[in-house]
């Protein structure tokens, strides 16, 4: 897992990030407080399984605790490590998870129940379409479009150029639009 993880992005070139010392307790707590939700949601979007997403999040932060002393950008480092952990799991098992398990829960409001139903169906279709994308388009859509990271951060996490980010994003969105239109 370590070897796989270190392939990712600019973090592959930093041996200190791979075999570094423990991060300080306050830095660790800060990273957990600021980034654990994003790491979990990113893992959930890739794996579509809550239990596995929690496991990956724990593995990622454990690794940060044990080796993160020299990490400069914890957010991007954590996402890169989480992504590779997710890809390892997906490679090891060819299973598929029902998208309905992962549909976002809508907050209560005054809208019609039909609206909520339509939104859940749309989210479900969208998650299936994202899951059908190839890497790195899938990770890119989740990081850029779902979580709003900028292009440079995505490029660093995925180990691709800014131009490739634009190209992959364009292709991914075109494919998602087509898939959604076909499924309607």
């Amino acid at each position: 897992v370590v070897a796989e993880t270190d392939r990712s992005g600019e973090f592959a070139s930093g041996p200190s990030a791979a075999r570094g010392a423990r991060v300080s307790a306050w830095k660790f707590r800060l990273a957990v407080t600021l980034h654990h939700r994003l790491v979990y949601r990113f893992a959930l979007a890739l794996l579509r399984d809550r239990t596995e997403a929690e496991d990956v999040t724990q593995e990622t932060f454990l690794r940060y605790w044990e080796q993160g002393a020299d990490v400069r950008g914890p957010k991007e480092w954590l996402l890169a490590v989480a992504r590779n952990a997710c890809l390892d799991r997906l490679r090891r098992s060819g299973r598929t998870v029902s998208a309905e398990d992962c549909v976002a829960e809508e907050p209560g409001d005054d809208r019609e129940p039909l609206w909520h139903l339509q939104q859940r169906e749309l989210a479900s279709r969208l998650q299936r379409a994202i899951a059908a994308l190839s890497e790195p388009q899938r990770s890119l859509v989740v990081l850029f479009d779902v979580h709003g990271l900028d292009g440079r951060a995505c490029a660093r996490i995925l180990g691709i150029s800014s131009t490739q980010v634009k190209v992959y994003l364009h292709r991914a969105r075109r494919r998602l639009r087509r898939d959604l239109e076909e499924s309607q």
Partner: protein
């Protein structure tokens, strides 16, 4: 001209959907969309996709996950190996026994030290993050001001150097 305009408009579908067109480009795009129904539908479809993707991030995060992650440092093994662990264990046991004996001897009540709750620690960390953000901004402002001051001083020096000097008269 119309073909060029149409090509430009189709190349900007995603920018229009993202709302990242410049103020100068927006009316141009609006005109193109008014002329081309397919283009308008494409922009609407891209905008719909963007809204839907943004909606996906509302996935709830298990409340216990953050607590479990914060416990990682407590549960992790020490980094210096088994021997050090054994030594630490023996030393710890010895220290605990000595403390217990002293405590019993003095019949003192158990110390009432209480660790701050995880919520309190989280609040402190969040406050620290805000403080660090302010600090970073202050540093950036101070840097800008000092850079401007240094540039001003250098420019003044340069002006002074360019100014023709009045040669001291030797009386000849």
């Amino acid at each position: 001209v119309s073909d060029i305009e149409s090509q430009w408009a189709w190349s900007q579908v995603e920018a229009a959907a993202d709302g990242t067109l410049s103020p100068a480009e927006r009316p141009r795009m609006r005109d193109a969309m008014a002329r081309d129904d397919a283009l308008r539908k494409a922009v609407e479809s891209a905008a719909r996709l963007r809204r839907s993707l943004r909606g996906l991030r509302a996935d709830p995060v298990p409340l216990s996950l953050g607590q479990r992650l914060l416990r990682i440092p407590r549960g992790a093994r020490p980094a210096h190996g088994r021997r050090a662990t054994a030594v630490a264990l023996v030393a710890g046991l010895g220290l605990a026994s000595a403390t217990a004996i002293v405590a019993i001897a003095l019949l003192a009540p158990a110390p009432q030290t209480r660790e701050p709750t995880l919520e309190a620690q989280d609040r402190a960390v969040a406050e620290f993050a805000v403080a660090m953000t302010y600090l970073r901004h202050s540093v950036a402002i101070a840097e800008n001001e000092s850079t401007a001051a240094v540039r001003g001083a250098l420019a003044a020096d340069a002006r002074a150097a360019r100014r023709p000097r009045s040669e001291p008269s030797n009386g000849e």
